[in-house]
């Protein structure tokens, strides 16, 4: 079976490019997968199935939506909120009408009027201020012959948006940590100690090190994290916070640190880092924080890496993060108590080695069991095969059953036919 696989690929700096780079070798062991690159749509001809990886970034995914418009297929929906993507495909290409139409489709007249407000710069961009209120996923959902999602959350959102075709939930695959870190982690696990002691990046003071990875901005709840961490530092002056990732434009990190009295000895700052450096930094952490609000429905590749390394997580109680088992993640609701709860979580993990260790063991087990790369590749292959040929199989089975029913005089709409349909539905044969 030949699959035309549309995805951003490295060296693009995109979590979805990294995702596909991880998944493809295992997929190719199971199916003839041809990666379609930007501007090379003709390569998709002759494929039995087209697959489109879609996220919210217009730079990385705009061309994939255009390919999807030409040939509907299976969409891997990495984000549910696609407002930024749609804005890029419309306003970003001087197509204001397109944006207004998308807003009207989802929000009716009110949506259209708000769209005018955005075009006229009378209100802030809605993809920044109210993305969850206007997801703008409608067109992509219309074109998707089936959806692959990573979470129940996105599945639920798609259903709420009226999507009626098939949805498959496939966990995000886990990366295999570098071998030297695996050895360190397993030794630490056996001894009940933190794996972080083996890392080159371990805090030289031996103090409690909290890591936060990804863009530094408000939607990652960095202000709340800094406030909670500043409070932690009052009681634990040896605690340090590692912030890894680019600072988003307009987010004044230095001013915030200064206001909270967080100096260089409390904050370790790194920008965009290489994969090997990332693993080393992750391994050095005692706990990792992954906060979001609002969520676009995304899964965090960084959190998946942290699970692989057996790190206890602190996450926002939203979207996919809410679905993490309680024994691997402490969940912080996004409410007026957010900073207090976050502080309590960080304090608990700093204070209690046993909790930290048991959460780490559970995290590594979850990565091994649920996010195993070969398992994920097999689930993908199942979807590919079902999506490409499932309809023909269903038609054939229904045809055989219907022919047999007709032969013994069972009429469509009769109680007997209803009974047959019910039995077929019970075992999901036919459609």
């Amino acid at each position: 079976m030949k699959v035309a696989y549309h995805s951003p690929m490295p060296p693009e700096r995109s979590g979805i490019a990294d995702y596909s780079a991880l998944l493809l070798p295992s997929l190719r062991e199971r199916a003839d997968v041809q990666v379609i690159r930007r501007g090379r749509g003709r390569q998709a001809r002759g494929a039995d199935l087209a697959v489109y990886h879609i996220g919210n970034n217009p730079e990385a995914h705009g061309w994939i939506v255009e390919a999807l418009r030409r040939r509907p297929g299976i969409v891997v929906l990495h984000d549910f909120v696609l407002h930024h993507l749609v804005a890029g495909l419309t306003i970003g290409r001087r197509d204001g009408h397109g944006y207004l139409d998308a807003m009207e489709r989802e929000g009716g007249v009110v949506g259209r009027l708000l769209g005018h407000g955005v075009l006229d710069k009378r209100i802030p961009p809605l993809w920044e201020s109210r993305p969850a209120d206007f997801h703008l996923a409608g067109e992509v959902l219309d074109l998707a012959t089936g959806l692959i999602v990573h979470s129940h959350y996105v599945e639920r959102k798609a259903r709420e948006a009226g999507y009626e075709r098939r949805i498959w939930r496939i966990p995000h695959p886990a990366w295999q940590p570098p071998p030297e870190l695996c050895v360190a982690a397993s030794q630490a696990s056996a001894s009940g100690a933190s794996a972080s002691g083996a890392s080159a990046s371990r805090d030289s003071t031996g103090g409690y090190l909290v890591g936060c990875f990804g863009n530094v901005n408000a939607s990652k709840r960095i202000p709340q994290l800094l406030e909670a961490f500043a409070r932690l530092r009052r009681d634990r002056p040896d605690a340090r916070l590692l912030l890894v990732g680019a600072t988003s434009p307009g987010f004044d990190l230095d001013r915030r640190l200064q206001r909270l009295g967080l100096s260089a000895d409390g904050i370790v700052r790194e920008g965009y880092v290489s994969e090997s450096r990332l693993w080393s930094l992750l391994a050095g952490c005692d706990a990792c924080v992954n906060l979001r609000a609002p969520t676009m429905g995304e899964t965090s590749g960084s959190a998946i890496r942290q699970l692989s390394l057996g790190k206890p997580l602190v996450v926002s109680d939203v979207g996919w993060f809410s679905e993490l088992p309680d024994d691997v993640a402490l969940k912080v609701p996004v409410d007026e108590q957010e900073v207090n709860t976050l502080h309590a979580a960080l304090e608990l993990l700093a204070r209690n080695d046993v909790v930290r260790h048991s959460m780490g063991v559970a995290a590594a087990e979850l990565a091994r069991r649920e996010h195993d790369l070969e398992r994920v590749a097999e689930l993908y292959t199942t979807v590919f095969e079902q999506a490409a040929g499932g309809e023909a199989v269903a038609d054939a089975v229904l045809g055989e059953v219907a022919a047999a029913a007709r032969a013994v005089g069972i009429e469509a709409g009769s109680p007997e036919a209803t009974d047959l349909a019910q039995r077929l539905a019970e075992v999901e044969l036919g459609r």
Binding site: M1, D48, T382, E385, Q386, A388, G389, G390, A392, V393, A394, A396, V397, E400, V401, A404, L420, R423, L424, E426, V427, E428, L429
Partner: protein
């Protein structure tokens, strides 16, 4: 209790699965239960027939019979476990193997077409639903339980069952290796014949009938086995027990077999079993140097192992007796207690 034992029937074919279903009915009846064997013919080709025939089971209404409730159904192998009943228990002999471990092998059924690939996945999906409905799920071996877990995510309790009742005994450790079972490619009797071709002292007796018989007999002729390979065809119970009683060892090396009753039958006759590292279920009870010999699936390795047993009668006896102890622990009393518990 009123119990319906459900098993598919391939017309004109009778093997271990059929013997097992009959025996289960008998054993339940011995324990004062009212039991009926329910069968439906099964044909798994061409195309989607595997699904439409499986669906026949779904149409059966076994909740009551003649106005009286049926308390329990026990389904055995695909597709009988598609039957619906509020108290459905499944004791899985095997799933539809062509859709699983035999896929993309010489013994597979589904080709690389888009429709066949999807059809295979539909069988998996049907299994997930039908087995998932079971109130209790058992498998005859660890091998089968692991396959179920891999393919459906469901956990089956391992419950091996005793072999057919024969007048098992050990009369001697004779000069031949016995092969028992249906003659199809999956049983790999050709491996045994190739081994015999390499060792002129090795004599083999092959019992059973099946589609592979003609090919096997031709192979024996081509390899010049000249009477060292005897094909008995189907034998009755007394003849089979006598062959077990007189052989030196029993060969049993199908490809990734689910369970297989032959090793238990050999053990009850105090005979060691020759098997291969890829045989699957038999490896749960045949241990190398414990209850038999486990070799690589290569003729020369097998020839060497058979030769060892022929030249070391004390070891053959010791392995066979260890096997007997193991087999004696698998009883119908224990099986039925767990099955109905």
């Amino acid at each position: 209790m009123r119990i319906a034992v459900c098993a598919p029937q391939v017309p004109f074919v009778r093997g271990g699965a059929e013997i097992f279903a009959d025996k289960l009915v008998d054993e339940l009846r011995k324990r004062e239960h009212e039991v009926e064997l329910v069968t439906v013919p099964f044909k798994w080709y061409p195309g989607t027939r595997v699904l439409s025939q499986a669906f026949l089971w779904r149409l059966l209404d076994l909740e009551e019979s003649d106005g009286r409730p049926i308390d329990l159904v026990i389904a055995t192998k695909f597709p009988s476990y598609c039957v619906r009943h509020p108290e459905k228990r499944v004791w899985v002999l095997h799933q539809f193997r062509q859709a699983y471990e035999l896929d993309r092998t010489d013994l597979g059924q589904f080709d690389e077409s888009v429709q066949d690939r999807a059809l295979r996945r539909s069988v998996h999906h049907l299994d997930r639903i039908a087995l998932g409905e079971a109130k209790r799920l058992f498998s005859t071996s660890q091998n089968v339980a692991e396959r179920i877990a891999r393919s459906t995510g469901l956990a089956a309790e391992v419950l091996p069952h005793p072999p057919q009742e024969l007048p098992y005994r050990c009369d001697e450790y004779g000069d031949f290796v016995l092969s028992v079972g249906r003659l199809d490619r999956a049983k790999r009797n050709d491996l045994l014949l190739e081994a015999a071709a390499l060792d002129p002292s090795l004599r083999v007796v092959v019992t059973g009938e099946g589609p592979d018989r003609e090919r096997l007999e031709r192979l024996a002729r081509e390899r010049g086995l000249n009477g060292r390979a005897e094909f008995t065809g189907r034998v009755d119970e007394d003849e089979l027990a006598a062959l077990y009683a007189r052989c030196r060892a029993v060969y049993y090396a199908p490809v990734d077999e689910d369970f297989g009753m032959v090793p238990y039958e050999a053990f009850l006759s105090e005979k060691p079993v020759l098997t291969t590292t890829d045989a699957g279920g038999p490896l749960e009870i045949v241990t190398n140097g414990g209850t038999g010999i486990v070799t690589a699936p290569e003729p020369h390795e097998l020839a060497r192992a058979a030769s060892y047993l022929l030249t070391h009668p004390d070891e053959a006896r010791s392995y066979g007796r260890a096997g007997r102890q193991l087999a004696a622990g698998v009883t119908w009393d224990r099986c039925i207690e767990r099955l109905l518990g």
